[in-house]
Symmetry: C2
Subunit: 331 residues, 2 copies
C-alpha cells in the first residue's frame, strides 16, 4: 500500500497528452497495490468519445516490481477482452498510437478505466452470491481469449517457495508453520490434473472486488491471472471470502451463497465438486507460501503491515478436517 514513485504535474501532463482523454485536472496517488504505484486521475474528458463535459476518471498504474513486462499484453489484453464481454472489469485506455502500455523512465505504465464501488469487509450472502456469479461469468468470457499464461504459484510452485524459505525461518515465524511443508508435498502429489480450465483471477479477495450494495461493479488487480482449473479459482475465492481475517471463523452461509452464485451461471461437474477440498487446501498453501516469503523478506520495523501466514494455516487446517462439508449448501 504505497506510491513508490513521485510524478509531478509536468510529467503527468505530458503523459496524459499521449491519450485522447482531454487535459489533466487532478491526480492523487492512491494506496492500492503492493507491486504497483497507482494514481486516481481526473481529466476534462475525451473530445472524440461521447463526452458530456463531466470530466473523466482513470486509474494510472505504474508497474514497479514483480510484474514481467512480457506479461503485460496478457494482463491488459485480458481486461479489454473481459470488459468487451460485459464482465465488471476495467478496460485499458489505449494511447493515441493504440498502445495498451507506455514506458516512463524505464517503467511500464497503463491507463485503466475507473470503476465505482467500494470493497466490503463483512460480506453478506447476497454479496457473496454476486461475486460467485461474476467469477463464473469471467471464466465463461475468457474461453475465447486466445492468450494464456502459466500459474507460477500453483501447488508445486507454492511447495518450492516454502521449501526455499527453509524450516528454521518458517519456524521462527511460528513453530507450527514448518508442518505446512509436508502438507504441501502431499497436496502436490495428489493434485488433480484433469479439471476443466479457463483464465482464472486466482486472487479474488474482497479488496479486489468493488461493490455497490449487492452488485459487483468491478473485479480488479488481475496481476496473478493465469490459466488454471476453474474450480481452483472458486476454491481460492472461497478461502478468501468465507472466513474472518485470521481464519478462525468460517461462515457456511457465505460459502454456500458463493457456490450457489457460481453455479447459477456454470454448474460444477461432479469431479470438480469432489476436488474442492484439495483445491481449497492448495489455495491456502499458495497464500501461506507467499506470505511466509514476504514475512522473511520484510524487516520487522518496516512501516508496512506484514500479513501473517498463520491466517491461512488455520484455513488449511479447517479445509483438511471439514472435507466436502465445507462446500455443502447452507442448512
Amino acid at each position: 500500500m504505497a506510491v513508490y514513485t513521485h510524478l509531478g504535474a509536468e510529467e503527468l501532463t505530458a503523459l496524459i497528452a499521449q491519450y485522447d482523454v482531454g487535459e489533466l485536472v487532478s491526480a492523487k496517488g492512491i494506496a492500492e497495490g503492493v507491486s504497483n504505484s497507482n494514481w486516481l486521475i481526473e481529466t476534462t474528458g475525451s473530445d472524440s468519445a461521447s463526452s458530456d463535459g463531466r470530466g473523466a476518471r482513470f486509474i494510472l498504474t505504474m508497474y514497479e516490481r514483480r510484474i514481467e513486462l512480457s506479461d503485460l499484453p496478457f494482463f491488459l489484453g485480458l481486461l479489454d477482452h473481459l470488459s468487451e464481454r460485459d464482465c465488471p472489469v476495467p478496460r485499458t485506455i489505449h494511447d493515441l498510437e493504440g498502445a495498451a502500455y507506455r514506458l516512463l523512465d524505464g517503467k511500464a505504465i497503463a491507463l485503466i478505466e475507473y470503476l465505482p464501488g467500494v470493497s466490503v469487509d463483512h460480506p453478506t450472502p447476497g454479496q457473496a452470491r454476486a461475486v460467485g456469479e461474476a467469477l463464473a461469468q469471467m471464466h465463461a468470457a475468457s474461453q475465447d481469449f486466445g492468450q494464456t499464461r502459466a500459474n507460477g504459484l500453483d501447488i508445486e510452485g507454492s511447495r518450492r517457495m516454502l521449501a526455499e524459505c527453509g524450516t528454521p525461518a518458517l519456524a521462527s515465524i511460528d513453530p507450527a508453520l514448518p508442518k505446512s511443508l509436508e502438507i504441501a508435498a502431499r497436496l502436490s502429489e495428489d493434485w488433480p490434473q484433469d479439471l476443466p480450465r479457463a483464465i482464472c483471477h486466482t486472487d479474488l479477495f474482497p479488496d479486489n472486488v468493488l461493490m455497490l450494495g449487492d452488485q459487483v461493479t468491478g473485479m480488479i488487480d488481475f496481476y496473478f491471472a493465469c490459466e488454471d482449473a476453474m474450480a481452483y479459482d472458486l476454491a481460492v475465492t472461497h478461502a478468501a471470502w468465507c472466513f474472518d481475517r485470521t481464519g478462525e471463523q468460517f461462515s457456511q452461509d457465505i460459502g454456500a451463497a458463493l457456490i450457489e452464485g457460481y453455479e447459477s451461471l456454470r454448474k460444477l461437474e461432479p469431479r470438480e465438486r469432489e476436488c474442492l477440498p484439495i483445491l481449497a487446501q492448495g489455495a491456502c498453501m499458495r497464500f501461506i507460501a507467499s506470505r511466509a516469503e514476504d514475512w522473511i523478506e520484510t524487516p520487522a520495523d518496516a512501516l508496512v503491515t506484514r500479513k501473517d501466514p498463520m491466517d491461512f494455516v488455520r484455513r488449511l487446517s479447517f479445509y483438511g478436517k471439514a472435507g466436502s462439508s465445507a462446500f455443502a449448501p447452507s442448512r
Copy 2:
C-alpha cells in the same frame, strides 16, 4: 505518505450517512499527509444542495498523529473562513448536526471539499507569482478570523528541538549539521518581534498547492497554520519554492515572481523587507529541526523516505551569504 487505518465499505457507508452528501459510490485511500490518513470519496451528491446528478467528491481525513484534537476547531474553522472569502482553500463539510468533525473509533475525522489541480515540481515564474498572490490573499482574509494559535515551531521552538536532538545525533546525520545549533541561537536572539501578523500557513511547499496552469486552485494541508509575522510566511514560501530539492540551485526569477505576486495584493513594509534574510534563515531552521528529529526517530530501513535536513542547511547558508540580494527583483 500512507493510509494508517483501514476503513471498509460498511464503516464508510455508515459514516457518509451522517452527512448530506448522498450515498457512497467510491472510496480510495490516498497517499497524502504524513500525520493523517486520507480517502478520496465519491458520493451520489447532496439532495438539498444544487446537485446536477453528477456525483460529488470529497477528501475524508482521519487525524492519526501529531494533531491535537483541541486544535481542530481552529484548523477547520480557518478553512471555512478563508473559503467564504474566496481564497482557494477547501471548505469543511459539516455533518447533519452541524459538526465540523466527528469521532470514529476514538479518532477525529473530517470531510473536506475536493479541489481540482495538481502540484508542480518545477514552478514557472507565472506560477510562483500566482502563489505569492494567493498567500497575500490568505493573509488579508485571515485578519477577521477571530481565532488564534501559537506557532510551536517558531525560531525558539526550532532551536530547542535541535538542541534536544543532541550534538552527537546531529553529527551522525552530517558532520556539518551541529553548526546549525549555534546559528539557531543567534537567530533566536536577533529575531524581529515587531512585524505585522496574520494567520500564516507556514508550510506552503509546492506539494501543498494545487494548480491548473498558472492558476492556484487549492492551498491545502493547513495543519501547521498559526499566528505569526506575514513576512515570515512569505520567507517560508520563498525557501520552499525557489530552490531545487537539495537546496543547491537558487532561482532568482522564481523568488522575484513570488514576491511580486505577493506585493500585487499587499505591499511589504520597509521593515518587513529588511527582515526577509533573517526570516528566511529562521524558516530554514524550522525545517532543519523537524527533519533532523524525524531522521533520528525513523529507522534507516523503514520503507519511508527520510527527508534530508542538509537540503535546508544549504538554503540556510545561501540566505546567510546572499542577504537582501536573495529578495531583489529579477534582473
